[in-house]
């Protein structure tokens, strides 16, 4: 009876919603069908006829229904249909076959999503600011924003100043002073840049097809990157893509489609790559392009063997370190650490606010910077600057340890009780093994840093309580871990802190970037928790989100994967080998995998998500060759902007930004390997990402695009679970602790929620204090996994000994000559010891993460950032990437400020604007990686690039043979004034072939017919 009433009510609901909302009336006109809802035994039922926008209904069961939703019995139906919907019950009913949906998948999906619209159409978001201005919220990779909208146009985006109803911040008492952050959010430059990338002229606005690509005829794969595009309809685009997915499976077998995405995405828990994309790619089956551990590299492949932390990818726990640092530390050693440039990760300028406290000399915390570049953090926080040559600071660290040993300046008791293998390490440092004592004088040869300075630092450090801050997070990440000696560097960093008593008051890891005293018990999932992916293997979903937000699980069936660094070889040569990035244990990284996997199909099709790889991987002309290979029969790129690899696709699917679709997220909420990433923030801020404007052009949300493709494959109800994007957003809200604090309605209106700061008495303990005090681990992180404790659960580290290991047991078990059990200094294979190569290309080029853009995000796109001279420089109407070089080196080459120069080696050539500076020692130059623009001035792969893709020049060789580790943050190059020529021939430039030079700035225009990505239609 109840079921029959609900069904009758549903019919009324359709009519009332249509009466109230014009949008719904339009929706009803989209399809004509008869939908049946009934019990499986036909005892109760009702049909709904949708015809030209009108809804008619009747009780009973018809045999001419187009689609049919059937329940095992009426009681179950009543339970499942009665709002609020219990998703767990619904999913269990599906899994137990007590609920079925039959008929055309697309029609069924339309019916289900239409039904859900009756719930959400009345939701209103934003605040009326007067004058026709609506204020909503959103989230960028660089912090949360207020978005002011008027007449369907974004007026402005600002940081969020908290109001009187928001909770107050925390206060740390230290050394008789009080430290309290301001009641507001900050933005990173790329966050404040967001409006300009929404309205970028480089937006992909319409589905596009390469003009000389015919799925039923000539594919002309060699023309990728050269030919123009013509506009096609969404129907045609989706037909082609779905058709190609089926074709790849049919012709080649499962896994013939590879999926490749960048390491980041526009922010949001539903529309994220780890969410909607993973659900889609698992649903259709694919070969994943398996990532190397990006910015972690040396920590994952190296440091993890000394101290565990595999579930933090080899980086340490960070809790409580802001308070401990301010209260107890005497000095912070920033080592290849530039948080002012990298904002931690997603941390906006929140750490800047705290590091500014260090400028107060009353606090008495000294600062030291070790970096070949006098980086932004060194500029901000005065302190001694050590400028070792790139890749060599491992030697400097060893010399520091050498001084400590010689002069007894380390914690011998701690070393005896909390570490193993010290004698072996000591013997190596003293030269007992190789006859070379690792003295400050020894390191000077390698690093160029005066021995006397290293000795002075070692002595000062040995007498003080010191926070070691490697990388932008202060506990690793970025910095020197991405170059050829990155594994050695991360390892030696852990050895240094192990000698000084990690966990003692004032002795820890950090630079005030992580470790704020926030409430970590309040649950809101991070992006790595997998959103709507249903992916229990490839995301952190099984930890907690899966229980809180039950959803249909997804599972990829092909077991093979392509190691990302070697992807071009996988396609071009048909084989590649790699090592996995899996954080579950230390040992997972040892499991070599090969492509193709036995019995699997070779990849014939690539589903590419965005266009970042050309400037974020290494020696990336390899990708140009890959894209032009006939081995890739089809390439689709789903992208917001027409840039980078998008210009190499056969079909471009235009995605919209997160300002044009609904989403939900927490600021710097990473989850997974970045557990409690909110520690970087002064306040936890959770945001409803309201659609501020309609999608630009014909662009669509990723969710919509995937669902449409799924419709062609009968998978849309599996993919979407029959609900709309905003329903997923609500589902995530309900899955979190949010409903206990704020109603959905209030949340939509206000747009954000600030989690109150933790009470002082309940603040998370200081990291490693438990270890130092021989207690059970008490910081709020669920790692390592229980079986990884050697003696007793929560006692000791993840290492075999449970202690800090100078001599790593895991590296005794896994023999890698390049990673001996005790870390040793082996000079880079691309540096001053590289012989002929170094003679030819005598400049060491650093390519760290960029300051103003976030990887490729925010750069190019005709964005505001182009107007910042330290980002790009306008010369002759073109915005060139900046290459910084030592002033003397520039003078010696006749190069002046903002001259156009050719940065080149045997891998390629990039035209940049030169910035001579004293912020770099001689022989070192510096240009950020991750230009969004790849702009070959002629034949792609054979001409100079003026987009600024410095990663065309960096080595693809991994740090060691048995790791899948990026090593390219340092490369040997030469820089010469640019003669305006567009073809690339290194010998020609050296003078072997003389041609009339063109004056700088009067570059040859790219030939029109060659212009990549040129839109014809």
């Amino acid at each position: 009876m109840k079921f029959a009433i609900i069904l009758f009510g549903m019919a009324q609901l359709f009519k009332i919603t249509a009466w109230r909302y014009p949008k719904f009336r339009e929706r009803l006109k989209e399809r004509n069908l008869v939908a049946q809802i009934k019990t499986m035994d036909n005892s109760v039922g009702r049909w709904f006829r949708f015809e030209n926008g009108r809804v008619t209904t009747g009780a009973g069961v018809r045999d001419d229904a187009d689609i049919c939703m059937a329940f095992k019995d009426a009681a179950l139906a009543a339970k499942l249909l009665m709002p609020p919907i219990d998703w767990l019950d619904q999913i269990n009913a599906l899994k137990d076959f007590k609920l079925s949906m039959t008929g055309d998948d697309g029609l069924a999906n339309w019916f289900a999503q239409t039904t859900m619209l009756t719930q959400s159409l009345g939701w209103k978001w934003g605040r009326d600011m007067g004058g026709g201005v609506l204020r909503t919220c959103n989230m960028t990779n660089g912090g949360p924003v207020f978005v002011d909208v008027k007449d369907g146009k974004i007026l402005r985006m600002t940081p969020i100043d908290f109001d009187e109803t928001d909770p107050g911040p925390w206060t740390i008492k230290a050394r008789g002073m009080e430290f309290t952050p301001p009641r507001r959010t900050t933005l990173a430059p790329h966050g404040q840049n967001a409006k300009s990338i929404v309205y970028s002229p480089d937006r992909c606005l319409y589905p596009m097809k390469r003009v000389d690509f015919d799925p039923n005829g000539a594919r002309n794969t060699h023309m990728r990157g050269k030919s123009g595009y013509e506009r096609i309809s969404w129907d045609e685009a989706i037909d082609i893509v779905a058709g190609e997915i089926k074709r790849a499976k049919r012709l080649h077998g499962p896994g013939a489609m590879a999926v490749s995405h960048g390491s980041h995405h526009t922010w949001g828990n539903i529309g994220y790559y780890l969410s909607a994309l993973y659900r889609f790619r698992n649903a259709v089956g694919h070969t994943p392009v398996h990532h190397n551990p990006d910015s972690w590299e040396g920590w994952y492949w190296g440091a993890v063997h000394h101290w565990g932390h595999s579930l933090r990818v080899g980086q340490s726990e960070t809790y409580g370190t802001v308070e401990d640092c301010l209260q107890n530390c005497d000095m912070i050693v920033f080592w290849a650490a530039d948080p002012e440039t990298t904002s931690g990760s997603y941390g906006a300028q929140e750490g800047t606010v705290r590091r500014q406290w260090l400028k107060d000399r009353k606090l008495g915390i000294d600062v030291v910077h070790v970096d070949p570049y006098y980086n932004q953090s060194a500029q901000f926080l005065p302190g001694k600057w050590f400028a070792p040559r790139p890749t060599t600071s491992v030697a400097m660290a060893m010399a520091i340890a050498y001084v400590w040993i010689r002069e007894g300046l380390y914690d011998k008791d701690y070393v005896a009780s909390h570490t193993v293998g010290f004698d072996v390490w000591k013997a190596y440092l003293l030269g007992e093994e190789d006859g070379i004592p690792k003295t400050p004088e020894w390191q000077e040869e390698e690093t160029g840093v005066p021995a006397r300075d290293v000795r002075a630092l070692a002595r000062d450090w040995g007498r003080k309580r010191v926070y070691l801050a490697p990388g932008g997070w202060g506990n690793g990440h970025g910095g020197a871990c991405r170059n050829q000696t990155g594994i050695q560097w991360a390892r030696v960093m852990v050895c240094l802190v192990a000698m000084q008593g990690l966990g003692k008051p004032g002795v820890n890891m950090g630079n005030l970037q992580w470790g704020c005293p926030l409430d970590f018990n309040f649950y809101f999932p991070g992006y790595a928790d997998g959103g709507m992916s249903g992916d229990l293997e490839g995301t952190a979903m099984p930890v907690e989100l899966y229980q809180r937000m039950p959803q249909l699980p997804t599972m990829n069936t092909p077991t093979q994967k392509i190691p990302r660094i070697h992807m071009p070889e996988a396609i071009l040569d048909g084989k590649a080998e790699g090592y996995p990035w899996v954080g579950k244990s230390i040992e997972h990284q040892f499991g070599k995998f090969g492509y193709p996997a036995p019995g699997h199909a070779k990849v014939s099709m690539l589903y590419k998500y965005g266009g970042s790889i050309l400037s974020t991987m290494n020696n990336t002309n390899r990708w140009v060759k890959m894209y032009q290979s006939e081995n890739l029969e089809f390439v689709v790129n789903q992208s917001i902007w027409n840039e980078g690899e998008a210009k190499f696709a056969d079909v471009i699917l235009p995605a919209c930004t997160n300002f044009e679709r609904p989403d939900i997220s927490e600021w710097a909420g990473l989850g997974g390997y970045g557990h409690h990433g909110q520690q970087q923030l002064n306040h936890r801020v959770i945001v409803f990402q309201a659609p501020a404007i309609e999608p630009m052009g014909e662009s669509k949300s990723d969710f919509w695009i995937f669902n449409e493709i799924c419709k062609r494959m009968g998978l849309s109800n599996y993919f979407s679970e029959g609900i709309n994007e905003i329903d997923w957003v609500k589902r995530m809200f309900d899955a979190s602790d949010m409903p206990e604090k704020i109603s959905w309605k209030q949340f939509l209106k206000k747009g954000y929620y600030v989690v109150p700061a933790e009470k002082e008495a309940l603040r998370a303990p200081v990291s490693f204090r438990w270890f130092w005090e021989n207690r059970k681990k008490d910081v709020p992180e669920p790692q390592p996994l229980p079986s990884d404790y050697a003696e007793e659960y929560l006692k000791g580290l993840q290492t075999q000994s449970g202690k800090l290991e100078f001599e790593c047991n895991s590296l005794k078990r896994f023999v890698d000559p390049e990673r001996p059990p005790v870390v040793k200094y082996v000079p880079s294979w691309e540096g001053r010891h590289s012989g002929e190569m170094f003679e030819k290309f005598p400049l060491q080029m650093l390519t760290p993460h960029s300051r103003y853009s976030f990887h490729t995000q925010g750069d190019g796109k005709d964005s505001f950032l182009l107007n910042i001279d330290d980002h790009r420089v306008e010369v002759g109407g073109w915005y060139y990437w900046v290459i910084r070089m030592n002033a003397e080196d520039a003078r010696a080459r006749g190069i002046k400020k903002h001259d156009l120069v050719k940065v080149h080696n045997d891998r390629g050539a990039v035209i940049c604007a030169a910035l001579p500076t004293n912020r770099l020692p001689r022989g070192v130059c510096h240009g950020y990686e991750s230009s969004a623009m790849y702009e070959p001035m002629g034949e792609p792969g054979r001409s100079v690039d003026r987009g600024g893709c410095l990663n065309l020049l960096t080595p693809e060789r991994t740090q060691t043979k048995t790791t899948h580790s990026l090593a390219g943050a340092n490369a040997l190059v030469e820089i010469v004034p640019w003669d305006g020529r567009t073809e690339y021939m290194s010998e020609a430039f050296a003078g072997a072939v003389k041609q009339d030079p063109l004056p700088p700035g009067k570059a040859e225009a790219p030939k029109d017919e060659m212009a990549p990505g040129k839109v014809i239609a």
Binding site: P189, S196, A456, L865, N867, I868, N918
Partner: protein, 279 residues
């Protein structure tokens, strides 16, 4: 009458450019006439961050100075504008009316600071209008100040006497006071941009090893007159700062226990690092 002023702390500016980006966000694509016509997407720098690199590897520092329309009390642009196109409001804000100023390209040259920009498309001069349209809607700060993470940029609405007291108490300065235009944009720690330093690193050899000399007394003299005294730190480093650029010859005397006194001559143009000084 309270008037608007801005105070910028050069020591706290990190060159993050959030002020310049927030200003672009506010004015590019938005027409706030008569306060301001839209800013062109490229070519204008209504807020421009000037920078100064001092010293050489590895003894160096950087200073960043956000500069913008100074909203001068004796603004040449107000005087040179025809048709009343540029006015200073009672609250101190100088505004260029985009319509009335149309065609008045000479105003670009009227500003000695170079903070008036020519909008080619609209044929009108433009400058940063202190976000007056927002101030008039009740905003208490400008977009740049709101976005500044270090509060290097702060906005004050004060009586002239009050700001003058602040200027005196805190040693605030304006850029190029010789222009005589009486700016309302003030700077703290501007010496980091306008002055120079002499620095060096003192070392000595003992027992076959060269070490840094801590605690050496270093005296700076000019024309036989003592200018300043410093003590070397653990790296043997000393730094005499806030010296006028191009101030010529100096003498640096170093005294350290157990070593004969050492004298080094220095000529100051821009900042100079004397390098390692071995006793």
């Amino acid at each position: 009458m309270k008037k608007w002023n801005m105070v910028i702390d050069v020591a706290a500016c990190t060159n993050c450019n959030l002020c310049t980006l927030a200003t672009m966000d506010e004015y590019i694509g938005n027409d706030w006439s008569p306060y301001a016509a839209p800013m062109p997407k490229h070519g204008h720098k209504w807020i421009r961050i000037q920078q100064k690199e001092r010293g050489s590897v590895p003894f160096i520092d950087m200073a960043y100075v956000p500069a913008m329309c100074n909203h001068c009390d004796d603004a040449p642009c107000v005087q040179k504008a025809e048709n009343g196109a540029v006015t200073q409001r009672e609250d101190g804000i100088v505004l260029i009316d985009p319509d009335k100023a149309k065609g008045q390209k000479h105003l670009v040259d009227a500003c000695p600071y170079g903070h008036i920009w020519w909008n080619e498309e609209l044929q009108t001069p433009q400058a940063w209008p202190f976000d007056a349209h927002l101030i008039d809607q009740g905003w208490k700060q400008t977009r740049g100040a709101q976005s500044c993470p270090t509060a290097a940029m702060k906005v004050y609405c004060l009586e002239d006497a009050e700001i003058q007291r602040m200027v005196a108490d805190d040693g605030l300065e304006v850029l190029n006071p010789e222009f005589g235009t009486r700016p309302r944009i003030w700077y703290r720690n501007l010496w980091r941009y306008t002055t120079a330093f002499i620095g060096g690193s003192v070392s000595a050899e003992a027992g076959g090893l060269v070490d840094c000399v801590e605690g050496a007394k270093v005296t700076l003299t000019k024309d036989s007159a003592k200018q300043a005294e410093a003590v070397t730190d653990i790296y043997g480093d000393f730094k005499f700062d806030r010296l006028p650029e191009d101030s010529g010859a100096y003498t640096v005397e170093i005294e350290a226990q157990g070593h004969p006194k050492k004298t080094v001559e220095a000529t100051l143009g821009e900042s100079v690092y004397l390098g390692e000084i071995r006793l």
